[in-house]
């Protein structure tokens, strides 16, 4: 088998060049590809278009790339929690394309499933619909939205194997599997990399055919955005 295993984040993102379009998995800070983001920051690649549900926080996640002005355009459903982001947006340094979260997910799915466009009711009658084709099916209006076309999808999984198969843990799954399917080149960082054959074929979330490069990441911080707890002993 062609070796999909790379040494680490630096090698994995080595050919990401200025102006590339990247998908980055995660919801908030949950399930984000920490190692690859750090490597992209270190590499200093610029003018990126980033497709990601959120934009990180000031000092973590995509926020680190924003701070370095590496991002030309964000395509997200929910941004904020990020002062530098706001500054760049208001000053016109950063383009932002805000789209409904389900539209974001389904445009990834469409790319992964080879469907050039999909129909969704989300955004009909709002500014999101401006300039878009509207079509009525069964008495209800839908927007036609196009599949994403990303150079790289960068995702974070819990476990992966040398064949590129991925398993996600809990709600850190979120956008990761749909983005993994959608990149021309898909890079997966995993908490634990095992030999092909160690994962049960029935429980693989992303089949290896969608994954081009894989490595075992390190030093995961897994920062929690909103630590909410209840008192013990209730």
């Amino acid at each position: 088998m062609i070796n999909k295993v790379v040494s680490g984040a630096k090698e994995a993102i080595d050919d990401v060049s200025d102006g590339a379009t990247l998908m980055l998995g995660g919801f908030g800070l949950c399930g984000i590809p920490e190692n690859c983001i750090n490597a992209l920051v270190e590499k200093g690649v610029k003018d990126l278009t980033c497709i990601s549900n959120n934009a990180g926080v000031d000092d973590f996640g995509i926020g680190l790339m924003l701070k370095q002005r590496q991002v030309k355009k964000m395509i997200s459903s929910y941004v904020g929690e990020n002062a530098e982001f706001e500054r760049q947006l208001l000053s016109g340094e950063l383009e932002v394309d805000l789209i409904p979260q389900g539209t974001l997910a389904t445009r990834c799915l469409a790319a992964g499933y080879g469907m050039p466009a999909i129909f969704t009711p989300a955004g009909v009658g709002t500014e999101v619909a401006e300039g878009k084709e509207i079509r009525n099916f069964g008495g209800k209006d839908y927007l036609m939205e196009y599949a994403f076309d990303a150079d790289f999808a960068i995702v974070k999984a819990w476990k992966g194997d040398t064949a590129g198969n991925l398993i996600f843990r809990s709600t850190s799954r979120n956008f990761n599997p749909v983005m993994a399917m959608a990149g021309k080149i898909t890079i997966a960082e995993v908490e634990e990399l095992v030999e092909a054959g160690e994962l049960d074929p029935d429980y693989i979330h992303t089949p290896g055919i969608y994954v081009h490069r894989i490595f075992q990441g390190k030093d995961y911080e897994k920062r929690i955005e909103q630590r909410t707890v209840r008192k013990s002993g209730v």
Partner: protein, 219 residues
């Protein structure tokens, strides 16, 4: 007048046994605390979870397990995890029975605005546009008037819309109202001690108050 907690409590009465429910951020989140005993409800979190449980005990937080508000949560027996495409797929296919969300404005024809104030920093619509466009049953939990004393129940929304003709029921600190298919806020219940006249004054859109309007009950 009702407190936020009481609005949540009143909305909880609308939930039926076996419902799958999506709760938005703010007052809607509080609804989970008032689900009647004996009623089993499965909460959907749009980031990919069915069966959202309470916050974890201190020290048991799991960074990989959060809700749509990015809060640490827990799962419950019968929970399932899925990706974002399936999460919004099940909404779009109207498998979620009830969606409860907040609003900045609602119009008498059921339009809702809750994501953007021009001139202010825009954080994005998140899943709100998908929810309002897809849900078969949406209840809006909101304040009847804003801090400036202006009605948020309008003939026409002034803010950028989140969705059109999608809201059917509203619960505020003053009243429970249905939005009629032909348009108009139909007053169903008054908060205790609040007069129909006061609700009329607080509603900029067309209010329909026919016959005796009972007070809301919270038991």
């Amino acid at each position: 007048m009702f407190t936020k907690e009481e609005i949540a409590q009143r909305i909880a009465q609308e939930i039926k046994d076996g419902y799958y429910v999506n709760l938005g951020i703010g007052i809607p989140t509080l609804v989970a605390n008032y689900i009647p005993k004996g009623i089993n409800v499965v909460l959907q979190s749009e980031n990919g979870l069915l069966g959202m449980g309470p916050f974890p005990f201190e020290g048991e937080e799991d960074a990989d397990l959060i809700n749509a508000g990015k809060q640490t949560i827990t799962t419950l027996p019968g929970s399932s995890i899925f990706d974002s495409a399936m999460s919004f797929g099940m909404m779009r296919a109207q498998k979620v029975d009830l969606t409860i969300l907040g609003a900045m404005e609602v119009s008498e024809n059921g339009d809702i605005a809750n994501w953007k104030i021009p001139g202010k920093m825009v954080k994005g619509m998140g899943g709100a546009m998908d929810l309002v466009a897809s849900a078969k049953n949406i209840i809006v939990a909101m304040q009847h008037v804003n801090k400036a004393g202006e009605s948020k129940l309008l003939s026409k929304c002034t803010l950028p819309l989140t969705g059109v003709k999608c809201i059917k029921k509203i619960v505020t600190e003053l009243a429970v109202l249905d939005i009629l298919p032909e348009g108009g806020f139909k007053l169903l219940e008054r908060a205790p001690g609040v007069s129909v006249d006061f609700i009329k004054q607080s509603t900029a859109g067309r209010l329909i108050a026919e016959g005796d309007i009972p007070e809301m009950r919270l038991d």
